[in-house]
Structure formats: C-alpha cells, structure tokens
Symmetry: C2
Subunit: 434 residues, 2 copies
C-alpha cells in the first residue's frame, strides 16, 4: 500500500483550519504547523483589548478542535522557509517536514509605512499579546492620569489616538470611547474619564472605505455620537512616545498623547516573500504573494497560498479583501482541489462568494452591507452579534461570550479590564526633546 498523500498546512487561522477540517474524511495525512497552540478568532480581538472579553473566550486550542480528526496532527513550531525542490517545510530548530501538497496560510500583520520603529510605540492588534499590551496601555494611561497633578500631562494621558479608519480602527475607537464614557465613569476620583479624547485618524476621505459611502457616513455619525473625534484625509507623519504628528491638507499638527493604537495597513508574513522567491512568484507592495487563479504559486501546482498572505487578483482585478470569509473559502477550495487531484478528478475554478460585511461601533450600533441589503444601527448590531456568535468555534465560547455581552450591555461593565503582564517602563516615558 502506498503511503498516504501528505498535506502540510502552515498556519492555524481561518484559512489553514478550514483546509484541515475540509480534509476530515480525505485519504491524506494532514500536518498543521502553527507557532501558537490555539486558533484565534481575530474579529473579536478588539474586545479583549478593551477588557470586554478574555483571551480564552475567543481562542480555541488547535489540538482540541482537531483531536477527533485522526488524519491530522498538530505541530507547534516556527516555520523558517521552504525547500520546494525537496518538498520540505523548514523549521527554525533545524527540523523539516516533508509534504506532497503544501498550503501556506501564515497571515499578515499591520504595516507601519516604512517606519518599523513605530511599532513598539503604536501597537497593532493581531495577537493575544497585542490585545494585552493595548489593554495595559489604555487602562494604565487612566491610572497615570489619576495620579499626575500636571494638567498638560493629564491631558496627554487622556488622549487616545487610533490610526486607521478600517473595521479594526473603528471598533477600537468605539470601544475605547465606551470605556471612558461609561465603564470607567465612577472608578476614578481625580479625573473625569468621560473627558478623555479619542481621535481616529484616517488617510482617506471616509471611514470603513470597504463599505458603501452611505454606510461610511452612518459610521462616522455613530462614532461622533460616542465622542470619538474622526479626522479624515489625515496622514500620520511621526509617531513618538509622547505625541503624534499629522498632516491634513497643508497643515501639520502635533498632538500630545501617550497612547497610540495602530489599525492601518497590511503587511504579509515574511514567509510570503521567502516562498515567492523560491517559487518564482511575485509579491505585492504589502508583501503578499500574488497567486495563480487556483491559489497555487508560480510554477508549483502543489504549493498554495491562501488568506491574508495571498493577493488573489483574478476576480474583479484587485486583490480580494483580507477577511475571514476569503480565507475560509480559499481553504475549503484548495483542500477540495487536493482531494480531487488524488481521486484523479479535474480541477475546478475558484470563485469568492461575498456574503457581506459587518462592522460594529460601540455598544449597540453597527453597519451591515449584504450587497442587496444595506442597513445600520441596532438591527445591524443584532446581525453582527448573531453572526459572530455562530462563527465562534466552540460551543462553550458562544455561551460565555453571550453572557459577557449581556452583562456588558446591561451594566456597561467590562470585567476583564485587568492590567497584567510585565510593565514597559521604557516605552511609556516621553522621549527626550530634541
């Protein structure tokens, strides 16, 4: 008997996990490699960052999800590169894993527009650790504001700048404003937390630019009602520990602040560039691999890139958006093609079905775009709530998240507002003036 076809999947996000699970009954041996031992439900990460949920509520152990799938093993490891000729995935500890088909779903992080030195000053929101850092900085700023006696210092500590008006930035800004206006309202004695300033900076002329303009306008009004100051057509030109400098039109302005959160740009995992170089494919400016129409890479028909790391330009001309739905559909598609090839069946084309987009703003407001139907406000928020609950991987998480949302909704509380982990004295000190 021939040994079974070996499918190696790099990354246990939406795309990688979908591919692994699609192969549940396939005559293959699946190896899912991830640096982390859990799948993270990133769309709710901003709620962890703002103390509404715990990390475990939106993360599920990969081994747990796949424990009954006997043809799949999980390997906790760091992928360092690829030997496409030898058909091996190279790990950073010197080990390598042989494959017959390879699916790379290593994801993306935020882009700092050529300023990687901004990253420690303005953390993005991609990992559980990022969420903990943001939670610590936001809550820590209020704590420091409570203690300082210098009005200018207090003003800077109570200024929160969110860079990027996409879904992540809008959701973060809305949640920070809620925190300041309602949750923390009675917690402090020297400061009035509702007086905190939350600024959302967006380079384009509207927020949520992936949505229709009408919904962008509704989101803008909702943000303003929450107390968020939205600055459109505004570019960040400098990020420092104690200020950001922005350019809007011809005017340059420096905003004193201590907490800067980053929700802008996309930067594909470095594995994308390594793979593209090895396969003779190209990467786009964001470091994403430009894939073939079947998600394969260069001339390698058995190597696929899916999800946020892929630039899929074969539908509508521009890259498909970096959202969970694209990753899942690509994961299912690629897994199915591998299976069909084993069975000797012909290849099918990939076609992304846009099932709609949702973004939430604060406690009971959202915008929904289902193409044929666009709506906003409380109904959109209910749709958002329902869909996110259904998509959570584990039944237990659904129950726990639902209960916490109910508490948060009715009490406006956020019980997970813990400051944990190591302190970062270095990044909190203002930089010396020039």
């Amino acid at each position: 008997m021939a040994s079974p076809h070996r499918v190696v999947i790099v990354g246990g996000g939406f795309g990688g996990l979908a591919a692994a699970q699609w192969l549940y009954r396939a005559p293959v041996e699946v190896t899912l490699i991830d640096r982390r031992n859990f799948h993270l439900f990133q769309p709710l990460l901003y709620q962890v960052a703002t103390g509404g949920l715990s990390p475990a509520n939106i993360a599920a152990p990969l081994r747990g999800i796949l424990s009954r799938q006997r043809n799949c093993r999980v390997l906790l490891g760091d992928v360092d590169g690829f030997d496409l000729a030898g058909k091996r995935v190279l790990l950073d500890d010197g080990d390598s894993v042989p494959y017959d088909s390879l699916i790379v779903a290593a994801g993306a992080s935020h882009a700092y527009f050529g300023h990687p030195e901004w990253e420690p000053l303005a953390p993005g929101l991609k990992t559980v650790e990022d969420a903990t850092v943001i939670r610590r900085r936001v809550l820590g700023a209020f704590e420091q504001a409570e203690r300082t006696t210098d009005p200018a210092e207090r003003q800077a500590l109570m200024t929160f700048v969110v860079v990027g008006g996409g879904a992540t930035g809008v959701e973060l800004a809305g949640a920070v404003a809620e925190l300041a206006r309602h949750t923390l309202r009675h917690d402090f004695r020297s400061i009035q937390t509702p007086q905190a300033r939350v600024l959302l900076l967006e380079g384009q002329d509207r927020v949520l630019s992936a949505f229709p303009p009408k919904l962008s306008a509704k989101a803008l009004r909702a943000l303003e009602r929450l107390g968020v100051t939205v600055r459109l057509n505004t570019l960040v030109t400098e990020v420092a520990a104690d200020h950001v400098t922005v350019k809007a039109g011809g005017a340059v302005e420096t905003i004193a602040c201590r907490t800067i959160l980053w929700g802008a740009g996309v930067q594909g995992s470095p594995l994308g560039a390594k793979l593209a170089a090895a396969a003779g494919a190209t990467t786009d400016r964001a470091g994403r691999v430009v894939v073939n129409a079947d998600c394969s890479v260069g001339t390698y028909g058995d190597v696929f890139v899916i999800g946020d790391l892929a630039n899929y330009p074969h539908q509508g001309g521009k890259a498909l958006p970096g959202v969970a739905a694209v990753a899942c559909q690509q994961g299912n598609y690629v897994a199915n093609q591998i299976w069909r090839r084993i069975l000797g069946r012909s290849k099918q084309p990939f076609r992304y079905r846009d099932l709609g987009s949702l973004a939430t703003i604060g406690r009971a407001n959202a915008v929904a775009d289902f193409g044929w139907l666009q709506f906003s406000g409380f109904p959109a928020w209910l749709a958002w709530l329902f869909i996110h609950l259904v998509l959570l991987v584990e039944f237990q998480s659904r129950v726990l998240v639902l209960i916490q949302w109910a508490f948060n909704y009715f009490t406006r509380g956020r019980s997970a507002r813990l400051i944990t982990g190591e302190e970062e004295h270095a990044t909190h000190k203002p930089s010396p003036s020039p």
Copy 2:
C-alpha cells in the same frame, strides 16, 4: 470642620479589601494602594494555571468593586517603605501618602528555603502571571514531548514535579493529573498523555497537614486514584532545569524532569521586615510581622498588619493560618476598631472564628473539615464548589465560573489551555552537566 480621618490600606487582597469595604459608611477617607489594578481570588488560581478558567474569571478590578464607595480611592502604586514618625506611606516613585491609621496587608509569597535561585526554575502560584507561566510550562512540556524522538527526553518532559503537599500542591497535582489523563488524552499523536508522571513531594509524613489525619489519608488515596505519585517524608535538596534531587530517609535520588511547580513554604512580603524594623516589632522566620493582640505593630497603636503578612500568636499559641478567612476577619476587625476609636468607643478583642477548611482533589473529590463535621468525596466537592462560587466577588464571575465548571465537568475539557506570553528559552534548556 476637621478634615476626616485618613485610613491608608496597603494591599487589595482579601484582608485589605475587607477593611476598605467595612469602612463603607464610616466618616473616614480611605486610600487603598495596590501594585495591581485588581483583586485576585487566589484559591482558584490553580485552575487558571491548568487551563480551566481565565484570569478575568477570578480577578475583579479594584476600582470596579469600590466605584460606588465614595469615601474610598484606589491608588495604583508600589509601596517602598513607611515613615511612621511622619505618618506617611512611601511610594517607589518618590511620592508619599499621609495617614492617620495604617493597615498593611501586603501578603506573602512562597519560600524557597534559602534558595532564591530555584524560583525561576520552579515557579510558585501567587499571581496571574505565575499562573500563565505554569500553564505555558505544563502545556509546553507536552508539546515538546510530542516532537522529541529521544525516549529519555520524552520521559523527562512528561514528568511533572509538584513540591509541597499543602492545599496548593494537592490541587495543582490533581489538576495536572486530570489534564494528562483526560483533557489532553486525544490531542497528541506521538505521545500517550495518560502516561505522564505527576509527583507530589511532601516533607512531612502526610499531605494537607492542616487537616485531621483521617482526611489526609483520604486525600492521599484520591490523589493516587488520579494517578499522582505522592512521596511523603521527602525533602528537595536541589532544583535544576532538568532535574530535582530529593532526600527521603537516608536515600538520595535524582528525578529527571522539565516541569517543577512550587507550592511550599511562606515568605512574607519584604514590606513586613521594613515595617517591623521601623516599629520596633519582630518578624518570624517566614518574614511575617509578629503583631499585638489587636493586630497593631510594636508601640504603634495606629499601624496594623493583617492577613498572610501577620503572625498572630495570641490565639492557641501558634500563628493563625495564612488563609482568606483569617485575612477577612482581621480586616473587618481592624477597620471596626479604627471606626470605634473615632467614635470614642472602647477597644474590643480580636477572636478568629474558624469556619472550616476545604481542599479539592481532581474533578469531583474534596476533603472538608468543619471541626464538628468532617467529610470527603463528592459531597465535600459540592460544598467546595458552592462556597467558592458564593465567595467570588462579582456576580458575573459566579455565572461564568459555574458555566465553565459545568463544561469542564461534563466534557473534561479545559478550553483556556492557551500558551500565551513570551517564551522563556533560557529556563527551558537543560543546564550543562557538571
């Protein structure tokens, strides 16, 4: 009008929080100083360490708990010492806080018997970060065991040593055994997690020595049924990254292992020694302050030490145990005496009322000692469950913990088994052989 009496409380654990809340309607100004922004329900910390609960389930923001208590402010800060003559608490950032009455409830950590260098190798279980470290090491050891091909290395990785047979050690050992035997059973492909060895080392001749001998014997049998190997009369003489050396009777043995957890000894906060030196009081061998019969210190009638940091020898001759009930009763008592003094009323004596002890062993087993009534097994576990749920500070936590326990009970799952935070490569590598 005279300014109100200022009560400063150092530490927001059981004792400090009880004192602050007792003064709810008192004509005083309370300042509660803590390094952390939350109160931690330590009795359930071992469940966070073994992935059964999330940190936020057993922690409640101090500001949230006290937000409606208008005479109390919370100060997030690190206390460095005391100026008893000037009646000020000194903070590490140079600030100081004046008091009229001072309550120090800074708690204790584990003692490493004069070997502080063992601490990074064998983490104790006192903080949320400790719990995350232990979770990462235990789960990480199974992950490494899955990948290694060296049988001796695998055996060492799957050996878990718990030092100390008190409640913490017994609960940790039971939970790790449950994790290996049931929760992780189907998660790995190369290792059989039920074959993991869990060793519990105790220097005395029985576990849970604070309980009656009959219950110690029951706990021992329950641990053995869970697969824990209990070694009594066994002293740890060396802790290293890849082994522990133990002495039992005359025999010395080296046990190869990669995960060592510490649940032994008590070491009072360093603030105890500073306070005792300033007040002319003494500390015991564990660094706890030997207090007067009214919990005051030395000749200072307005300075009190309560909880784990206090050695209270005036009832039964030996120090009261370091448990939440003692801390709470002392907190209430001291707060009440301060209030009585303000009202010009006479002092009352302190008397600890022992309401009983409980310790749990694994999934549905516990021992209960209420003095007049001792029992074990499932009924004791139900009592343990009920009492811990009631004692949790927040209603929301009670609901969330109950649901997670129900899931854990019926599915034997532990959904919070996430490996998060920074990796610690240094401490995981075996030390070079001599």
